[in-house]
């Protein structure tokens, strides 16, 4: 009799792989702390970007980016992207004016594949008028989970991020949609 060891079976990630999905650092870490209730709040700072680490254990096709608009919609433009684990851009979405309230908004980018690996998902806002659904976790908890940020990005997300330590109690809900609709 012989034995053959197969690669470990891996469950697919969340269909909407968001900044609080179990495939992300906050999704794994924050349940161990006192996770606050989600609430609507203005984007924290003009031209700030947040970077959330996540891991893919199997390859996926990314169909859309999304973010969760809050209860106030103004003229703020939001943008979502995906970066390597060394903060080099893989795909950057379009800066898009927030529209609609209390529901996800999508950026229908050209479909692309992401192989298994470690990445960051990034979100940028160019103003503080529009609200986003966010957790108000302490910034040091978010930093401990590996999240980083970048400020003064007047042209949105860049090809290479120059991130710094997490600055404030703010975890926006955004991410990658792994289906084309709805």
């Amino acid at each position: 009799m012989s034995e053959r060891v197969l690669p470990a079976r891996v469950a697919p990630p969340a269909i909407f792989l968001s900044s609080i999905s179990p495939d992300t650092s906050p999704g794994r870490e924050l349940p161990n702390f006192s996770a606050p209730t989600l609430a609507s709040a203005a984007w924290a700072a003009t031209n700030r970007a947040y970077y959330v680490p996540f891991t893919l254990r199997s390859s996926v096709t990314v169909y859309r980016f999304f973010w969760s608009n809050g209860t106030t919609s103004a003229t703020t433009k939001f943008q979502v992207g995906v970066y390597t684990d060394t903060l080099k851009a893989i795909k950057i979405g379009t800066q898009t004016t927030a529209a609609g309230v209390s529901a996800p908004q999508f950026d229908n980018i050209a479909d692309f594949s992401l192989p298994k690996g470690r990445y960051y998902m990034a979100m940028h806002g160019d103003g503080t008028g529009s609200h986003i659904i966010r957790g108000a976790n302490n910034f040091f908890q978010l930093g401990a989970a590996g999240l980083v940020a970048e400020s003064s990005l007047t042209s949105g997300l860049q090809a290479t991020a120059t991130a710094v330590a997490y600055p404030n109690n703010y975890l926006p809900i955004f991410g990658l949609a792994l289906r084309s609709a709805p």
Partner: protein, 181 residues
């Protein structure tokens, strides 16, 4: 020659629910007895499994107001790039049973893995209560990829025609590989 194939992770869980990872309900309020918001509303919850499950039962947790005149249907749908697709199995119409306990019904279907599916549930009235996480009105179900459908009649459709969830209905639909649960 006999060959033994080993999976270094061993078998996966025998019972999976709509609130298990990769769902991310960590920010939702605690569960409570809540009315189904719209008669015949179908909710679709994405799940992922890493090991096959020979499903023997499906279920849900009843709230405090129940009646045998209320009916529930819970089922499993295939995953497509456009969300839930074809109905694979369901409990069919089941009279709601005892208040404040888990209720199950027999289902026979084997889920292959690793794969993603959608667990679905519908209720034929708006008086029946189910144990659910509290609604926040912030699109939190939609941001988890949860879908819904109103079919115009009671029961789970053979093919889903989903839209993104507009209702904040996060309940625990259960699939069990164990016949006793």
């Amino acid at each position: 020659m006999t060959e033994t194939i080993l999976d270094p992770r061993g078998p996966g869980l025998m019972v999976v629910t709509s609130s298990a990872p990769p769902a991310s309900p960590i920010y939702l309020a605690a569960g409570t007895s809540t009315i189904w918001p719209v008669a015949n509303l179908v909710m679709y919850y994405p799940i992922s499994i890493d090991s096959p499950i020979a499903v023997a039962k499906m279920g849900w947790v009843n709230g405090t107001t129940v009646s045998a005149t209320y009916h529930i249907d819970a089922g499993i749908y295939s995953d497509t790039p456009s969300g839930p697709g074809t109905k694979l199995a369901s409990t069919t119409s089941t009279a709601q049973g005892t208040a404040s306990v888990m209720q199950t019904a027999a289902v026979s279907y084997t889920l292959s893995a690793p794969a993603r599916y959608y667990l679905a549930m519908t209720v034929d009235n708006i008086l029946s209560t189910i144990w659910m996480r509290a609604a926040q009105g912030l699109g939190t179900c939609a941001s988890m990829g949860i879908c819904e459908e109103t079919t115009g009649g009671f029961g789970l459709p053979s093919t889903a025609t989903p839209i993104l969830a507009a209702h904040e209905v996060f309940n625990q639909v259960i699939v069990s590989g164990a016949s006793v649960i």
